[in-house]
Amino acid sequence: MARVVIENLVKTYPEARGPAVRAVNNVCLTIEDGEFMVLVGPSGCGKSTTLRMIAGLEEISGGTVAIDGKVVNHVLPKDRDIAMVFQNYALYPHLSVYDNLAFGLKLRKFSKVEIDLRVREAAALLGLDPYLARKPKALSGGQRQRVAVGRAIVRQPKVFLFDEPLSNLDAKMRVSTRAEISKLHRQLGVTMIYVTHDQIEAMTMGDRICVMRDGLVMQVAAPLTLYNCPGNLFVAGFIGSPPMNLIRGTIQPAQDALQFVETSPASSPATITLNSALAARAAAYTRQPVVFGIRPEDLHDARTFPPGSQGATINTRVDYSEPMGAETLLYLNTGATSLIARARPTDRFEPGQQVEMTCNLENAHLFDPATELVI
């Protein structure tokens, strides 16, 4: 069982002046056996630090990390039964690929036979056979990355750790290596913890994603859950590209329904009549500020998608459009808020054009601006 349990993990850095900085602030996370967990977040959110504490490369200031039921706070990295793939590959430059793969095993006094077996197995798995005699400087970035992964595989660890392994590859390599790592996970079935700042990597590779910000865990859930049911403003805006549209406004009573009214200096702010589901949740926030969230794909040209019972419309002006080929990204403006919408590739829009957009309220969200949590 290679379950990793992180409880109240804290990492502080002493500062010359003022209070110590908490890079990781009371993080609690459980990674199940065989799971592919992605830690994602902007730079400085503490994801790498957390990973390094799991690895044992950083001292733990507070809390515990337990691998397979055993608390490993004071256990040396080599005894934690983990393997790590680094962003810059960290290959031994003077050793051949074979020796790079064999290095860790040699240190642990494995027999030559066993070493050869494991190295060739990993090489076969990763397509490294033709390169076994080469030195790292004779390899391309993608090949070096595979050697780094291979070095981890031969160790047959309980947990694989990845520290932004694709950041140094070009876009095309990134896509193919992403798929290879996912395939590897399916083949080996080992627990993998993967750190990245790229939310696309997170969404495509993870069984579950842990979104972090400023040392705190924002939400932990499966990719689609994060996408469809973000727990707070940050996750809503972070996951999804292009990001979710967030409109600030207040809940106002109107006739026998509740409306979301945009906070806007314009004469006619966007007004959305809430459906029953949303209204039920918004009731407690009558006359109070909220944030209305709706994803670009849930905004439709009203001409082609009339509102109907579940829809509501917003009057917008087109700023500009980006034809992407398979779709067109529309950059709109309500007068107070900028919005993005996905439109069909065949629709034509002119800058300055007034367009009415239908909102698919089934996929709309409301957030409390003060707590940033979803309502």
Partner: protein, 280 residues
């Protein structure tokens, strides 16, 4: 070839060559004089000290004598130079690793102490050093030279190596740590291969400084059998009646080991010097 040299006058090079050769010839004069003087006996020498004599009358026994005389000095000096520079480098690498990779409690204090010692002019040390060696019963022993030689090179070596090791990629060490390497294994498998050029240069510098040193050996060594090259040559010079031929032969033989070593490592040395100079 389109560089500044084309801009200069076409026919000026011969003048440069002439001047350069003047310099070079005068500089290499001692070498020539040693050679031609080494095959004369004293009578020949008195007659014509600086001009070569006919090969028929070359006194090769000078060389045989000088060889027998100088060989033990050379072996002693080789022993001291090799061991002291090896020890110096080994200890420096370990200490530089300590300071470069980790900042343990008291690290900063120790490092400041190290730096302060770098400024220490060591001229005044020789007097108390002599007495210290006497108390340790190390006088008249080659080991004294090895130990002191290893000690005096430490500070500079550690300083240079520390800066170098700090620039090595950190994740390489971390990967080794996860692979299970102990600190010594990390030094052997990462630091040494990746710092090979600088270690080579430092080793050569240490070796040379030990080879050419004569002050400490002069006051420490008493037995003729343990003389190093420096002291041996000094005593040779101090003899009342000079056998010039033998002395010249001895000088030449004394120069041979370095010439041999450099023939093997010359390209490395010049490249190392140039690299260091351009950076500085």
């Amino acid at each position: 070839m389109n560089d500044h040299r084309q801009l200069a006058g076409q026919d000026r090079d011969w003048a440069k060559h002439l001047i350069i050769w003047c310099f070079v010839v005068i500089e290499l004069l001692p070498l020539y004089l040693m050679l031609q003087g080494s095959v004369k006996d004293n009578a020949d020498f008195l007659r014509s000290p600086w001009l070569p004599i006919v090969p028929r009358s070359w006194h090769w026994e000078n060389w045989a004598f000088a060889f027998r005389l100088v060989l033990p000095y050379i072996t002693n000096t080789l022993f001291v130079a090799v061991f002291s520079s090896a020890a110096s480098l080994a200890f420096s690498i370990m200490a530089a690793y300590f300071f470069a990779r980790y900042q343990m409690p008291f690290s900063r204090m120790l490092w400041s102490a190290f730096l302060a010692l770098m400024l220490l002019p060591s001229v005044a040390n020789i007097v108390p050093l002599f007495v210290l060696l006497k108390h340790l019963s190390l006088l008249n022993s080659l080991w004294a030279l090895i130990i002191v030689g290893a000690a005096s090179g430490q500070i500079f070596n550690v300083y240079v190596l520390r800066n170098f090791i700090e620039d090595l990629p950190r994740d390489l060490f971390e990967a080794a740590e996860i692979d299970g390497a102990t600190h010594l294994q990390q030094i052997v498998n990462i630091v040494i291969p990746m710092s090979a050029p600088i270690i080579g240069t430092l080793s050569i510098l240490a070796f040379l400084s030990q080879w050419n040193d004569f002050l400490l050996p002069l006051i420490v060594l008493r037995d003729r059998s343990s003389f190093t090259l420096g002291v041996g040559l000094i005593y040779l010079d101090g003899e009342y009646v000079k056998q010039w031929g033998q002395i010249m032969a001895a000088y030449f033989i004394a120069s041979l080991p370095l010439i041999v070593i450099f023939l093997f490592s010359m390209r490395l040395f010049v490249r190392g010097l140039s690299a260091g100079a351009v950076k500085g």
